[in-house]
């Protein structure tokens, strides 16, 4: 039993290491690509690894939704926009000029410092300590999320439909203006 438990937690650590490496590498690649379409695909990789991390945390529904909605729909929107704007491949702004580069290094340094502080104080933070308890059996399944959604979160659920309506109207309004300028063009 000890051997099984030990190897299980080691396997968990390896899986976590691989997935978080995927997230970090994906994120780094995204911000350093010259080609915007390549950057979007690296972001898709990041989200896929993130979905894997959700799965290890027993958030099954959220994991598959991450791929279905975020990597499958939002990123497709991003690709559409990239292809619509169609700028030439160029150096990212953060790499041009001395001031922007210095600011970038400072910002990265600050983020690194904060993360390091968080990691070193892991055991003393109350929120992280609470996550040591294992989740209930049905945690994260679709029916569990649904039960919660329609019990405690019914108002946000309905409010989301309004948010989506706003997004659709806004999107159509943005492109409608352009079309009316070029109304002489067929189609």
């Amino acid at each position: 039993m000890n051997l099984a438990a030990h190897s299980a937690s080691m396997a968990e650590t390896i899986v976590f290491a691989i997935l978080s490496a995927g997230v970090l590498v994906g994120g780094l690649l995204t911000v350093t690509r010259r080609n915007p379409v390549s950057a979007v695909m690296c972001l898709v990789l990041t989200f896929a690894a993130l979905a894997g991390l959700f799965a290890t945390l027993s958030a099954h529904f959220l994991a598959v939704l991450q791929i279905l909605v975020y990597a499958g729909a939002v990123m497709v929107l991003f690709i559409f926009v990239v292809m619509m704007v169609n700028r030439e491949e160029s150096t990212p702004i953060a790499r041009q000029g001395l001031v922007t580069r210095a600011a970038g290094v400072l910002a990265a340094g600050y983020v690194f410092y904060r993360v390091a502080w968080l990691v070193s104080h892991e055991r003393t933070l109350p929120l992280l300590a609470a996550s040591a308890t294992p989740p209930v059996k049905d945690f994260g399944t679709v029916s569990a999320v649904g039960a919660l959604l329609f019990a405690d979160f019914l108002f946000p659920f309905e409010a989301i439909s309004l948010l989506l309506l706003l997004a659709v109207v806004g999107g159509v309004m943005l492109t409608r203006h352009v079309r009316e300028d070029h109304s002489s063009r067929v189609s």
């Binding site: 497709v76 439909s161 109207v169």
Partner: protein, 133 residues
């Protein structure tokens, strides 16, 4: 559940692995003979006119936004559908059947959610942003 996720991960690895193997086969087993005629982009026999980096027409954008809105809507409706039996029951389910009366919570929540998104569809329809091309 744990071993199922391992199985799913294995399936993902298999799928990606097979695709990569095919790609490698294409690269290493296929030959390479570079000729001038092959270097021109294919345009049904004639020489290409202009750069292929044309802008995507902006009328694809409302389609993408509408798809995003409806995809998120369907994503929220999945837990609704799975829990519909218990949402339409006034009391808790007893062995899968409803012993208490009918509750209109399930249908009501759906109706409100759907109605707002149907307004979105109707708006896009009226503005003729879909159904074109």
């Amino acid at each position: 559940m744990g071993s199922d996720y391992i199985a799913a991960a294995l399936a993902i690895l298999t799928g990606v692995g097979m695709a990569v193997v095919f790609s490698a086969l294409a690269r290493f087993v296929g030959e390479r003979r570079v000729t001038r005629a092959k270097q021109i982009p294919y345009e049904a026999g004639s020489d290409p006119v202009g750069s292929p980096r044309v802008r995507m027409p902006v009328r694809f954008y409302p389609v993408a936004i509408l798809f995003l809105a409806f995809d998120i809507e369907v994503a929220f409706l999945y837990p609704w559908a799975v829990n519909f039996a218990s949402l339409s029951c006034a009391g808790p389910l007893v062995k899968g059947t409803c012993r208490a009366g009918v509750s209109w919570l399930g249908l009501g929540a759906l109706a409100l959610f759907m109605a707002v998104l149907l307004v979105a569809l109707a708006y896009v329809w009226r503005k003729r942003a879909i159904g074109w091309d």
